[in-house]
Every structure is written in C-alpha cells, then in structure tokens.
C-alpha cells in the first residue's frame, strides 16, 4: 500500500512538472500579447513598445519559464499584466470561493448519487431503475446554461426565494451568504448528478452479482443493510474515483455557473485572463488548478486503493479475524 502511494505520488509530481511546461509554453504560443490588449486602439507604436517592455515580454521564453517556475515554488506567481495585482493574492481570494462552491456541490452529489445509484443498481432492469435512468440521462443531456437559466427563472424570478446573482460585500466570503450559494450549488449538482449516479449504478450492478454479495444474501441480509454494509464498500472505489475526477474538473470548470450567477470563483477569473492575454494570471491560476486537480485525483486514488484492499475477499476475512 505504501509503495502504491509512493508510486502515485512520484507520478503526480512528474505530471505536475510536465503540465507546468505545457501550460507555460502553450500560453506563450498564443497570438498577440497583453500589450495589444491593454494599450487599446488609440495607442501610438512607442506606447505599445513601452508597455511590452514593462511587462517583460521581450526576454526569451525558456529564461522566463525557469524564472517563473522558480518563483512559483516560493509562492510568487508574478503580477497580473492588467493592473499589476499579485496573482497569488487573486488566487487566494478566488480559490477559497471555488472550493466552497465545488465542495458543497460534490458533497451533495456524493450523497444523492450514492442513494440513487444504490437504489437503481440493486433493482437493475426493473421499473425504478428504468425511471431513474431516464432522469439521469435527461440531466446529462441538458446544457448547463439551460439548467442555470431555468433555476433563475423559477426560483429567483417567479418564486423570489433566492437572489439571482452573487453580490458579496467587500471582505466577505461566500460561505457567509448561504442564500447566494443555493442557486449556483444547485446548478452544479444538477449538472453532475446524472453522470455520478450512473457511475455508482454501474459499480453496484458489477458488485451485486459477485460471490461475496451472494454469500451475504444467503446469510439473510437484505434491503438497506445489504446495500450499506456489503454492496457500498465493494462499489465505493470506482465511485470515489469518479467523484474525484468530477471535483477536479468542476474546480476550474464551473465557468457557466460562475458567469451566470456572478459567482466570484477561479473559473471566471481564468476566462477573463485568457480573454485579456493576462499571461501571468493564466499561468498562475492554471498551475494552481492543475496542482489541485492532481492532488484530488491522488487522494481519490489512495482512498480507492485502500477500499480495494479492504474489499478483497482475502483481506476482508483477515480483517474479520478469519483464517483461510
């Protein structure tokens, strides 16, 4: 198990280095630079050249990559070329908001997907399963902006239950305003629930026919106890890995939701930075997102590995104190 963890850890670090290089050089390769975007249409050529020099856009790319990576390791991600704000400062304020949003959504998805996935998987092929399947397929097929717009129309415009946009007072964090979190979290949950439920269901179906579960059934286990104590532990590993992939993707990828609800997360900031050729910001936010995605996947792998060990029949019996 320790070797497994170490191997995964080393892979993650190597992956991180590779990603940092890909990130840096692909943003370098974009046509145009911040000088053009910042200067505006009425700038003279010398004003443009001055801005380019000030932003350090004239050094060779490899030099800048090494400097950038070295600085990044010490926590210095450079400054935004738009207004000179440190990237790390932006990251600190935006990242926490994204973690709150995605954390709540993933927690809700985990609970709901487990309940629905177990219910459907244990009744595979029956009416309940078919109903849940059509609901999940519909959820997967609905574009995110449609779900989000629908929520605004129904829950904000018509019912007046929740604010349509997030307007956090200066200095406040998102968790201090739960009413403004409801709609964005719900939109993310509806967007991810379909896939997650189907993942859990597939794992449950795979496990339900296994000898271990058969044994449990023959021992007279059924219903919630069978699902909770026997099926879930065996089916959890692929479920956790699926959720980890989803959480990693949502962290920077909830752009539609962030935009429509004006939620100050890291995704909309990244999109803005790409639009305005704010290279330092793109690289800094990208690096942080890549790092946290790898971390989440790494933790997901470790948990799944642990569960796999536990759920292997031999290990199970050893854990129970049995002899083989």
């Amino acid at each position: 198990m320790i070797r497994f963890g170490l191997t995964r850890g080393v892979t993650a670090v190597a992956m991180m280095l590779l990603l940092s290089a890909v990130l840096f050089f692909s943003t370098e390769a974009l046509p145009g630079d911040a000088a053009g975007a910042v200067a505006g249409a009425d700038a003279t050529d010398s004003e443009r050249a001055e801005i380019r020099e000030r932003l350090g856009l004239d050094d060779p790319a490899v030099t800048r990559y090494v400097t950038w990576l070295g600085d990044a390791l010490t926590g210095d991600l450079g400054r935004s070329s738009a207004a000179g704000r440190p990237v790390a400062e932006v990251l600190a304020s935006r990242f926490g908001n994204s973690v709150v949003l995605v954390g709540l959504a993933v927690a809700a998805i985990a609970v709901l997907a487990t309940v629905f996935g177990l219910a459907a998987g244990l009744r595979a092929g029956r009416l309940g399963d078919r109903l849940l399947s059509s609901v999940t397929v519909t959820l997967i097929a609905l574009p995110e902006f449609l779900v989000a717009t629908g929520l605004v129309v129904v829950l904000a415009h018509q019912a007046g239950l929740f604010p349509a946009v997030s307007t956090f007072p200066p200095g406040d964090s998102s968790w201090q305003h739960p009413d403004m979190l409801v709609l964005p979290v719900t939109a993310l949950v509806l967007g991810g629930l379909g896939v997650a439920t189907r993942l859990v269901r597939a794992a449950v179906v795979g496990v339900a026919g296994s000898p271990a579960i058969e044994q449990a059934r023959l021992n007279g286990e059924s219903g919630v106890r069978l699902a909770w104590s026997y099926v879930l532990p065996a089916a959890a590993a692929p479920g956790i890995q699926g959720l980890a992939v989803m959480a990693a993707g949502l962290l920077g990828g909830s752009l539609v939701v962030e935009t429509l609800f004006n939620y100050p997360g890291v995704g909309s900031e990244l999109a803005r930075a790409v639009t305005y050729r704010d290279v330092a910001m793109v690289q800094g936010l990208g690096l942080a997102l890549a790092g946290s995605a790898l971390l989440i996947l790494f933790v997901g792998d470790l948990l799944a590995g642990l569960l796999n060990v536990r759920s292997r029949p031999g290990a199970w019996r050893r854990a129970e104190g049995g002899v083989s």
Binding site: G36, T44, T167, P170, P264
Partner: protein
C-alpha cells in the same frame, strides 16, 4: 414581499445587518420628506474581475474610471451647451492666450483634500503629469501629448499656466474630457489615498464590490446619496437579472435585446448616452489592399451598407446613424454634410467601372463593442447583395486588438473609438491634404478659420476616406424609476444621482 418570503424560507431568525440599516434608512427618509437622505444606490457594472484597480491610469475597464470619477474631482466635463464647450468641476476657468500657445487653469477657491490640505496648483500639475509618470494607459495621456507639461508654471497657489506643444484651440476639451485631480506626490492608490471628489472609499474588493460614502467636505452641492455600492457583475444577462430581482438600482452596459425587454417592464427605465457620448463603430478599408486603392471601390462599399437597417435590427433603434465621419455631437462635427444614402445600384456600377465586380474580401470583427459582430454580419450581407464575395471572420472576445500589428495588416476590419473630438484624435499619415487641414483646424487663430478647415477635412473624409462609419453606439443603462440624476457622459456619472424613497 419577495424579500420577506426569502428570509422566512431560509429561516433566518435575526435580521441581517443590511436589513437593520434598511429599516433605519426607511425611518430617516420618511422623517426628511421626499428627498431620501441616507439613501444607498447600488449600481452594477461589467467591471474587470480581479484586474480592477483604484489606479485609474492603468485600470482597463469602465468601472475603474467610473469609480475614480466619484472619488477624485474632475477638472470638468465636455458640455456643448456651455460657451467654452465644457462645464467646469474643480476648475473655475480655463483661459486661452490669443496665439493658442498657452492655457491658464484656475482652481476654485478653498477646496480641500480629505486629509484637510488645500488643493493647489502643485496638485493640479501633478495630476496632469501623473498619467505619463505613472505609465498610464494611452487614453489617459491625451493632455501630455498636446501640452508641454515639463514647462508648466505655477502663477500662484490656485493658478497654473500650461504651454502647448503646438498651438491648439481644442485644449479645453482635452483637459476636461477625463482628467481628475489627485494630491501632489500620489503614486499609489489605496482606499486611504487623500482625494477631493464627492465620495470616499469605504471598502474595495476587486471584481466584487466597492463601497463609497459621501465626502462631507466636498465642494459641490449636488450630492444627494449617502452611499454608492458599485457592484461588479461581468455578464450582461446577470446584470439584467440583478436589476429585475431588485439586487441593483442601476445597471450599466445593457445589451440591445435586454434593453428592449427591460423597457417593457414595470418600474424600470432604459436610458442611452447621447452624442457626443457615443462610440463610433467603424470598418476600415486598408489602403495597402489593392482594390481599396481605387476611390470608386471605397465609395461603392460605403454606398452598399444599409445603415438604417443596422440601427433598427441590431440596436433596436438605440443608436445614431453614421455618415463615415467621426466625432458626432462635438461642436466641430459638420452637420451640413449630406447623409450617405444606401444605394446598392450605384455601388454595383462603381464596382463594375473599377473592374472589381465580384471581388473577394474578408471582414474581421469581434465582440469588442455592443453589436459589432451583428453589424459586421449585416455589412457582409449588404456587400454580397452588390456582388462582392464577402465573408466574415469572427474572433472571440479580446482577440481583435490583441495582436495590433496583425490587426493593422488586415484588409478589412471592424474597430471602434470611444467618444473623442475629431481633430485631436486624427491619426495622420493616410491623406496628407486632410492632415494639413486638421492641423489648421486645431491651430488657426480665428475660430471661423478653424471651423472651415475642420469641415473641409471632414468633407474630404466623406468623399474619399477609407472608413465606413455606419453607426454611433451609446452605452445603454437601465435603472429603477426611483433613480434620477444620473448623467450619461462617456461613462455614467453617478455623483449627482438621487434615489426617491419608496
């Protein structure tokens, strides 16, 4: 009512702090009568995410300037109705020497900064030099390009004499368009930086919100609000939602479609900036592209465009028709020029004459100004109707000007200029005869000569220029009916806004 049910639904036992202050506001305003003393205006702008900054010289978004104009007193504002063409703010007057080589700026008496120090000519001079010294964005450096600021001289504590770089008559417009006063020595901008505008910064979170509180020592007497909350809401749809849901009283930058929908809603009003506060949407025909060297091709392209259809279908009427000449609404704009017709037949025959029938052309555009892509789409259709094999290359947001050298090489490209006087913003180098006329229009001693030269230059641009200016686009705002007193300048000026009590 919806607020109440929302709170009840969430089961919040205690009133939030905002709720309490709302109740207090209601009490005080009912005591004061109609004028809602203690009112807070919530205004939403697109903002710029985390790139928003209090340093308005480098802040790239409209919100940065809107905020700065509420905190730092402006020298004045362009106002065609005034005898000088400008209305004064912190300045009392701008006198111009007869030979147009020196300007004398005089400050109002006994104006102070928030730290108690008086506003002096030294502060004024620093304010004018700061855009260059602090490496401001090009649009903030208009004054530095036209005046010799190094040679400026203080005549007394309130008076400053500025020599011009070349003789110019339009210096008042340049000085009053967007210059604000900051304290001498200011190089960094924080909420604590001394200022002399109508409001002071209570709190600032880039990309989220700015809380402004009334400056009790402000020299002007037309400030009615106690607080302004500037909300950053990036998406136009989300801004419209914020207004509909009562989360904002005023929103700036409303899309044409949303403007039409919001105008129909009860209790909401849509307003648009009026000339000269409109941006010119232009399509530039690159003269190094062979067919455009022929004047007849350029005229054909201009005649092919159906301008009224653009105003009607792209902007739902909320735009001004253009006549291929910039700076609509400024005093020197030649209203006597014949309005360009939509004449596809004439366009066809001109193209035939020039031997460029069925010429291929690609128009490049991006969503940099409201309706730019939609207008470009119509222009391409118009050109196809006269036999040109036109196609549209649509770039994603932020790309059009990102590589400016590449942009300048495009054969046919969309662009825009924010509201600015024609003569001072004319880029020389394309037509020497027009350049000469523009120089005269800026520097001739007699006003009649200047106007004549300007009109002649505009006439030549109309005749043979390489820009199609089909439409002038205002910034469209929307607000609840309780809001009044917002001035639609280049950007909305909220300093004199009022909020009626419910």
């Amino acid at each position: 009512m919806s607020n109440f049910s929302r709170r009840a639904f969430l089961g919040f036992g205690a009133l939030t702090a905002a709720g309490v202050s709302g109740v207090l506001t209601a009490c005080s305003s009912s005591g004061a009568g109609g004028d809602a003393a203690g009112a807070t205006l919530r205004a939403a702008f697109a903002g710029g995410g985390s790139s928003e900054t209090l340093n308005y010289f480098v802040g790239p978004t409209a919100l940065d300037f809107v905020r700065a104009r509420l905190v730092h007193a402006p020298l004045g504002a362009i106002d065609a109705k005034q005898p000088d063409g400008v209305s004064y703010g912190i300045l009392e007057s701008i006198e111009i020497s007869d030979d147009l080589t020196s300007y004398t700026l005089r400050l109002r008496d006994s104006v102070t900064f928030t730290d108690g120090s008086p506003v002096t000519a030294a502060d004024l001079l620093h304010s004018l030099r700061a855009p260059d010294e602090l490496e401001g964005l090009p649009f903030t450096r208009l004054v530095g390009r036209n005046f010799d600021l190094a040679a400026a001289r203080r005549l007394d504590a309130r008076t400053l004499r500025l020599p011009t770089a070349q003789p110019i008559a339009d210096g008042r417009l340049l000085l009053c368009q967007s210059m604000l006063v900051i304290k001498d020595g200011t190089t960094e901008f924080t909420p604590k930086t001394p200022s002399c505008g109508p409001f002071v910064i209570e709190a600032f979170e880039p990309g989220q919100q700015t809380v402004l509180r009334r400056n009790p020592d402000y020299f002007g007497d037309d400030v009615h609000l106690d607080e302004i909350h500037l909300l950053s809401v990036g998406d136009a749809e989300a801004r419209a939602n914020a207004l509909r849901e009562g989360q904002a009283d005023f929103v700036s930058g409303v899309s044409p479609f949303n403007a039409r929908e919001l105008a129909k809603a009860d209790g909401l009003t849509v307003s648009a900036g009026e000339p000269p506060y409109v941006s010119n949407l232009r399509f530039e025909m690159n003269l190094s592209h062979e067919p455009f060297k022929d004047e007849r091709v350029r005229r054909a392209f201009r005649l092919a465009v159906d301008r009224q259809a653009i105003v009607d279908t792209v902007y739902f009427g909320r735009a001004e028709i253009g006549n291929d000449v910039p700076a609509l609404g400024f005093p020197s704009y030649d209203t006597g020029l014949e309005q360009r017709r939509h004449d596809p037949e004439e366009a066809k025959s001109l193209l035939r004459e020039a031997g460029h029938e069925g010429m291929p052309i690609e128009l490049t555009a991006g969503p940099e100004l409201t309706g730019m892509v939609e207008t470009a789409t119509l222009v391409v259709e118009n050109l196809r109707a006269v036999g040109v094999k036109a196609s549209l290359k649509e770039l994603p947001a932020g790309q059009l000007f990102a590589d400016y050298e590449a942009y300048q090489r495009l054969p046919f490209a969309a662009g825009y200029n924010p509201s600015a006087p024609f003569e001072a913003n004319h880029t020389p180098g394309t037509f020497p005869d027009i350049d000469k006329l523009v120089a005269t229009a800026r520097s001739a001693p007699a006003e009649g000569d200047r106007t004549a030269a300007s009109h002649k230059a505009q006439g030549l641009l109309w005749e043979k220029g390489n820009e199609i200016v089909p439409v002038f686009v205002p910034t469209v705002d929307a607000h609840t009916d309780k809001v009044s007193g917002v001035r639609s300048l280049q950007f909305p000026d909220l300093s004199a806004a009022e909020l009626a009590s419910a």
